[in-house]
Amino acid sequence: MTSSPAIQTENLGRVYKIRGSRKEKEIRRELVALKDVSLEVKQGELFGLLGPNGAGKTTLIKILTTLLAPTSGWGKVAGIDVAQAPRQVRPLINMVSGGESSGYGLLTVRENLWMFAQFYGVPSKEAYRRIDAALKDIGLDDRAHTKSSDLSTGLRQKMNIVRGFITDPRVLFLDEPTLGLDVGASRDVRRIVRQWLGADAGRTLLLTTHYMAEADELCDRVAIINGGQVLTCDSPEALKRRLQRDALFEITTSPLNGLPVSALEKLDGVRKVTHSVADGSVTFKLILKEDAALAGVINTLTAANVVIQNFSKHEPTLEDVFVDLVGSSIEDLEQEGEDA
């Protein structure tokens, strides 16, 4: 056993050259997907990359899993450079993505898993032993002989996660593993992931998610990523502690009657304001320097004849940390991305 970190990156970057249409052939656009990412993940850690869609999380995973070459910097898995020696890295890793439809629908769950195990050189007998044990752990043993095309999304994702486990990777990459799953299936996936990691101290897991609660619940450390850059990296508790000096409120109101949100942002003692509109109500999330600043917010709202429907103070969450760092919530950023 050596002391090299499970994952290490230094100024890692990736720029995509985007081809224009025939008319625009001369115009080559560039998209910076990842910029100067420096991270270190210790062996045994469950490390989370938290950020909105398009933040660069998947690009980082693709580089670390040898599927994409970086355009700057370097990345290592188990001390091996992923761009220089991909063939040495591959036996040590595996990856599962949320919503993937890998494998072949006409094969059964057990057959699909056996097939992928063969690509990693797991002898058949050992592969079946691992598959049967993992399917039992994950509660999919009764579907072992079901064709994978007949599985629901949640069950299919469980099968994919077993695919990641059975090759016994030293570093497992989970890219949005609970994407599109219902609450129960997501909870199962989180439980299984924790269980797998806890079973062997030599295992490391890097998980990307845009679900704050998932990162908070699962991860030992979290890197918040946006616009291809890592904004901060620490344990969820430490990140939240940074906001504990602040007062965090959530206020639900009637429509704003033309009151600009900037009127609240300009108030003394107000650090950040985000808002969302749903069902005719407006929900504000406020980060205030102190409780006393709330009076100014309420006065401003009531002066504009805005009715306060609900009001609560809460402990900082990772979502608040994200808002504090980026100035917008993940949902808002993703909505902007879709609108663009």
């Binding site: 693709k62 040898t66 070459a69 040590l92 057959e111 097939m115 690509f119 050189g121 797991v122 030293r170």
Partner: protein, 278 residues
Amino acid sequence: MPEATVRLSGWRLFISTVFARAYPRLIGQQREASWLVFEVLLPLVSVSAYVFVYRALKAPEEYVGFVVMGGAMTAFWLNVLWSMSSQLYWEKETGNLALYIMAPSSMTAILLGMALGGMLATALRALVIIVVGSWMFNVHYVVLDFVQLFAVFMLSMTALYGMGMMTSSLFLLLSREAWHIANLAQEPVYLASGFYFPIKSFPFWIAAAASVIPLTLGLDGMRQLIFPSGAALGFLDVRLEIGILILLSALFLVGARVLLDYMEKLAIREGRLTESRR
């Protein structure tokens, strides 16, 4: 970092990968019976059309056998075109390609598995076409040299699937245009390879150019070896055709290996393994 669990490596990993990737093709044969319609019945309809044309023209009866044999061999061509050459495009769309590349086994082993599985599954389809077609149209075969016949068939398959492996790497970089390119290649090869007529009917240089497609010489050689008048209608001497097929096999297999390595590196550099749109 501790070493991962001891696993097969080297040639044992290669063999286990080939077998594992061949498995879906072989098992699919049993689970999806639709091939009986699309890959046996429909080719037999085409075969019948040509047979009736030849009979209406009072062509030599061997031509009927030529057509039945050509109909059987189209199964291999369709398999190579749609399930080898363009397969990596579909694998990319489903996410399998990324998993193949990320696995410690080589892509050559994956492609070889596809080829082997496809070849064995298609052999059954081709056999059914030959048996049913021969029964329907009363075709008789006289094998002149079993060894040469076996050699021509095996070399044709090696070269054909080698070509499929080579072209499949080109599809690594393609997105939806892969579909159109495969469509574009389908019919011209029917014509150039002489599926339904002896390629001796072509001017020499056209037949020579068409011989780059392994099925052309393969079909021609097999027809010469199993029909009494085959040799008279053959394009080149069978031994020469065997020599050319050996060369084509080596060329396509080596080409497949080299091109696949190059294309894989290029696709990783350009980010095209998982993102079709870029």
